[in-house]
């Protein structure tokens, strides 16, 4: 259902908003950023790879907006100069020239607002990805699973590492208090878990254990939590 919603979004932006660059004009309402937001909306539900193509397209569109904006402003400034020149001779711009001046500035406004809009879309996109990455640190720990790692850019990987390191140093300041564990006080410090993947020999806080697939073991809750969050174990309640 989520995917469906995203598809309609993409369709909506694709069919009615087309850039006519060959005509050297921008269709009103064109915003590639909107597509990106469509993607971003989707990202929130299932983590998705960076849409660098779309991202580049938005930047490109911004560049063309800037070009248009520049030329429009130049033209209106020329008109304003004529206006001042006329003023010194006690003359005014005639009606058509006044109209032209207004038309230049309203065209420039359209490009200006399109730029602001694209900026907002880009910022929101990056911001939401960063938010997801920050949450990853809290839920799955310091090591990224492969399926997520291939979907994020190198800058985002760097951000993940730094955020994890910051969290780690904060927790070590608090006498190694692990803030990422479950907030509900446990009934029992030990829980029964089933191992779903071959983890191998690991050193846990109280002993070392061989965690082979399908094994059912008692572990300290704090040791097991991370593995459960990562999906390599499941809790057994009976």
């Amino acid at each position: 259902m989520v995917f469906f919603a995203f598809e309609t979004l993409k369709f909506a932006s694709g069919c009615c908003l087309v850039a006519f660059s060959f005509r050297s004009s921008i269709i009103i309402g064109t915003s590639e950023g909107f597509k990106l937001i469509g993607f971003c909306h989707f990202c929130l539900h299932g983590f998705y790879g960076p849409q660098s193509d779309l991202f580049a397209q938005v930047i490109e569109e911004c560049n063309s907006h800037i070009l248009h904006l520049g030329s429009l402003i130049r033209k209106s400034e020329e008109l304003k100069k004529t206006e001042e020149l006329r003023k010194t001779n006690n003359q005014e711009l005639d009606e058509t020239e006044k109209k032209e001046l207004r038309a230049y500035s309203s065209g420039a406004l359209v490009h200006h607002f399109s730029l602001l809009r694209n900026k907002r879309c880009l910022m929101a996109y990056v911001y939401h990805r960063a938010e997801i990455i920050r949450n990853l640190v809290w839920t799955i720990g310091r090591v990224l699973p492969e399926e997520i790692e291939e979907k994020i850019s190198s800058a985002e990987k760097d951000y993940f590492k730094k955020h994890a390191a910051t969290l780690q140093s904060y927790m070590s300041e608090l006498d190694d208090l692990d803030l990422a564990v479950d907030m509900v006080p446990p009934k029992d410090p030990y829980i029964k878990v089933r191992v779903l993947e071959d983890i191998g020999n690991v050193v846990l806080s109280d002993h070392s254990a061989n965690l082979a697939r399908h094994a059912i073991v008692f572990l300290r809750r704090t040791d097991a939590e991370l593995y459960i969050a990562q999906g390599s174990m499941e809790e057994i309640t009976s």
Binding site: I28, G107, F113, S114, R120
Partner: protein, 188 residues
């Protein structure tokens, strides 16, 4: 002002609003027009996204009109007056309430606020009832009527019902551990 990074707010502002150009504008073109003049004449009509029309309206470049579903004697208004809970708002505007809130001060129509309030109140009641009782087989059909905001409320309602059921089923297991728990009636 909503959060700058709020995706729902961004999407809500993408909704199209009918507008008429009061001034001509150079350097832009309308998608429907076939001429190559590279300008928009004053007086031409266009559907613009809200984010653009809001600011252009503020500067007097365009004048905006209400989308059909907010107009005074529109069918949507009559339908909502008759039976708000079963009106298909999703196909009209996914961000019905958000857009209404944003557009009302711009056009100065004082009836939009009360209209939205009545629509939301009656629909919210129905959303809540459906969220707590509807079986999964019925739900998808009902969801196609709701705006995004309402669909979110519906999902929250459903997840709270699910959480309650989980808590109720898990209840006896936890209670057995304590001695007091046995005296209580087991909940089925």
């Amino acid at each position: 002002m909503a959060n700058y990074y709020d995706i729902d707010d961004i999407l809500a502002e993408e909704e199209m609003v009918p507008a008429i150009f009061q001034e001509s504008a150079y350097g832009v073109g309308l998608l429907e027009s076939s001429d190559d003049t590279n300008m928009v004449e004053a007086g031409s009509k266009a559907e613009l996204p809200f984010w653009l029309s809001c600011d252009l309206h503020g500067r007097g470049v365009i004048s905006i009109d209400l989308p059909p579903w907010f107009r005074r004697d529109s069918r949507t208004r009559k339908e909502i007056g008759a039976d708000a809970a079963h009106v298909d708002l999703r196909s009209r505007c996914q961000y019905f309430y958000e857009l209404g809130l944003k557009i009302a001060p711009l056009v100065g129509d004082k009836t939009i606020g009360p209209f939205l309030l009545v629509a939301f109140q009656t629909r919210y009641k129905e959303v809540l009832v459906k969220a707590h009782t509807a079986t999964p087989a019925v739900a998808p059909k009902y969801l196609t009527l709701l705006t995004n905001e309402e669909a979110k409320l519906y999902e929250v309602g459903q997840s709270s019902t699910a959480a309650f059921k989980k808590w109720r089923m898990g209840g006896p297991r936890l209670q057995k551990a304590s001695i007091l728990g046995r005296k209580r009636k087991p909940i089925k």
